[in-house]
């Protein structure tokens, strides 16, 4: 088990290193940022000075190495736009994103578990059909459109909830549900098919024959094994969650990492783009690593297969 964790850890680090190179190269390829931060009237000399001041005149390899060295200590340089340390921006935005994600995940899990399990247990009934509709809709509705429609109906016409920005619990409801919707759909689908398979297996029948209470058979014996596919896909769902968050945060004016990424990319703010992408990738890597470990822990067969 220790060896498995160690190999996966090294692999994640290698992937992050490669990604940091890619991000660095891509950020440099997006065009000269000086055109955006200097006024139209700036002279050649101004350009040269600014380039030197921001360290953009040094060789790329040197720029990259110093970037990585400082990034490891949490120093991502200064934002070209905001003229503030990037680390500060990230530290300010990240908690907001995490809070929103946590809210969305909690709501999704609370909905997905009962729905997925009941849909399998009462296969073919109204609940099952409703669950299927939610599942298909969750994969087919464009998030940003749902967001706009919700803002117009719930926040605009009905005036029930705030339309955007971060505030009390009420401000979490709309972005949280928009973000959590597709997670509910995907997770419920996996749970339902997992449960259907498991409920049909010998050990569940045995448990029933032995006289275990039906509720216990379903929620303890069967659910345990039906969870395996859900755990396998948890990593992928998390990265989709991050993706969706960019759109949701942009539409709801949520001051999180996703919106920061959008703003940074549209203003070609190199240091911020690098920092956001690497932070996100690191979070995704940590989540994937933990998912793998949890997976190997519940399903020992995995440890021996590479």
């Amino acid at each position: 088990m220790a060896r498995f964790v160690l190999t996966r850890l090294l692999q994640s680090l290698a992937a992050l290193a490669i990604l940091s190179v890619v991000v660095f190269v891509l950020a440099r390829a997006t065009g000269d940022p000086l055109h955006l931060i200097l006024p139209m009237s700036a002279s050649e000399e101004d350009f040269a000075n600014a380039r030197k001041y921001l360290g953009l005149d040094r060789p790329y390899v040197e720029q990259y190495l110093s970037f990585v060295g400082r990034a490891l200590t949490g120093d991502f340089g200064m934002s070209l736009r905001a003229r503030r340390p990037v680390g500060e921006l990230i530290a300010q935005r990240l908690p907001n994103s995490l809070r929103l994600a946590a809210f969305a995940m909690t709501v999704s899990l609370l909905l997905a578990f009962p729905l997925g399990v009941l849909a399998a247990v009462w296969k073919g009934t109204g609940i099952d059909r409703a669950a299927q509709v939610i599942a298909v809709l969750g994969q087919s509705l464009p998030t940003f459109w749902v967001a706009i429609v919700l803002i117009e109906l719930v926040a605009g016409r009905l005036q029930w909830l705030p339309a955007g920005g971060i505030g009390g619990l009420a401000s979490y409801v709309l972005p949280g549900f928009t973000l959590g919707w597709f997670v509910v759909a995907g997770m419920m689908r996996l749970l339902r098919s997992g449960m259907l398979e498991v409920l049909d297996s010998e050990y569940v029948k045995l448990a029933r024959v032995k006289g275990v209470v039906e509720a216990r058979v379903v929620w303890v014996h069967a659910l345990k094994n039906a969870l395996i596919p859900v755990v396998t896909f948890a990593g992928i769902y998390f990265s989709i969650l991050v993706t969706t968050a960019i759109v949701v945060e942009t539409v709801f004016a949520w001051p999180g990492l996703g919106r920061l990424a959008y703003e940074a990319i549209s203003s070609r703010d190199f240091p911020v783009i690098q920092a956001v992408v690497l932070t996100t990738a690191a979070i995704v890597a940590v989540v994937n690593l933990s998912v793998d470990c949890v997976y190997a822990f519940i399903d020992p067969r995995i440890r021996y297969v590479r």
């Binding site: 997006t30 298909v136 993706t243 990319i265």
Partner: protein, 268 residues
């Protein structure tokens, strides 16, 4: 039913120039924000109403289907070709080749699609081709994973061993024996992914990093109508409805194909 919906949109995309009642890029400022026909201020001239610049929404949606469907299909074809190639090679050779390829696949798969697509789109400027490439660069990984898994199972079967003993080359085994046996999976996965790609493309266009204006793309149409939702809801609503219908149809078709062709693929 899903086939009928897809059929309608494919037809619209193919014959957009005959079907659309007006020029999708023609602006008539005097008729801006005309509501749909059932509203008392609406007219049959603009069945679904007009947008901020007085452009006919129905025509723009019809032309938009061309953009969305081409983007969806092209991206998926590109991604499936690369992904299937990687999956076949990794599964066939195994060992170190497999380890390296699968590491790359995992790293790609866990990377948020939109983040990379945004960076790429900004790097080389937003354009149709760039959107297709940006999405395909991430999307191939899923094919690689699934196909490799199937190839691993196939490799243990007798007919592959026999082909080897008979002296078939690696290329021949991969193309003639392994590929045909993974076709069902490829078809199912591809159908399910078209819808996903259409949504990602629309999200990118919505964020301003996709298909650049004035080309009518559903995502950018929704974005254009966003500031006027309260006064002119139809501008954002109808393109979104179009996306929903097409993606829904592809997902239902994919589900049906999966259940028919290979029920074991439930996790795709």
């Amino acid at each position: 039913m899903p086939l009928a919906i897809i059929g309608v949109f494919v037809f619209a995309a193919l014959f957009a120039n005959f079907l659309s009642p007006a020029d999708p890029e023609e602006q008539t400022l005097r008729q801006r924000f005309t509501p749909p026909v059932w509203d008392e201020r609406g007219s049959w001239k603009h069945v679904l109403g007009t947008d901020r610049l007085g452009r006919d929404l129905l025509s723009r949606i019809i032309w938009g289907s061309r953009v969305s469907l081409t983007a969806g299909v092209l991206t998926v074809l590109l991604a499936s070709a690369v992904g299937a190639g990687v999956g076949l090679v990794a599964g066939y050779y195994g060992g170190r080749v497999d380890t390296v390829l699968m590491r790359v696949t995992d790293a790609t798969m866990s990377f948020p699609v939109i983040l990379l697509a945004l960076i790429l789109a900004v790097t080389v400027g937003p354009s149709f081709v760039n959107v297709v490439i940006a999405i395909a660069v991430i999307l191939w990984a899923r094919y690689a994973r699934v196909i490799r898994g199937q190839v691993l199972t196939l490799m243990g079967l007798d007919f592959i061993t026999q082909a080897r003993i008979a002296g078939a080359s690696a290329a021949r085994i991969i193309l003639r024996h392994l590929l045909p046996n993974t076709l069902n999976t490829l078809v199912v996965l591809t159908t399910l992914q078209v819808g996903y790609v259409i949504i990602v493309e629309a999200s990118l266009s919505f964020l301003g990093a996709g298909i650049p204006p004035p080309t009518p793309a559903w995502g950018s149409m929704i974005s254009e109508g966003r500031d006027f939702v309260t006064s002119a809801w139809w501008v954002s609503f109808f393109p979104g409805l179009a996306i929903l219908l097409v993606v829904l149809a592809f997902n239902l078709l994919g589900d049906w194909l999966r259940d028919t062709l290979d029920p074991k693929l439930r996790q795709l």
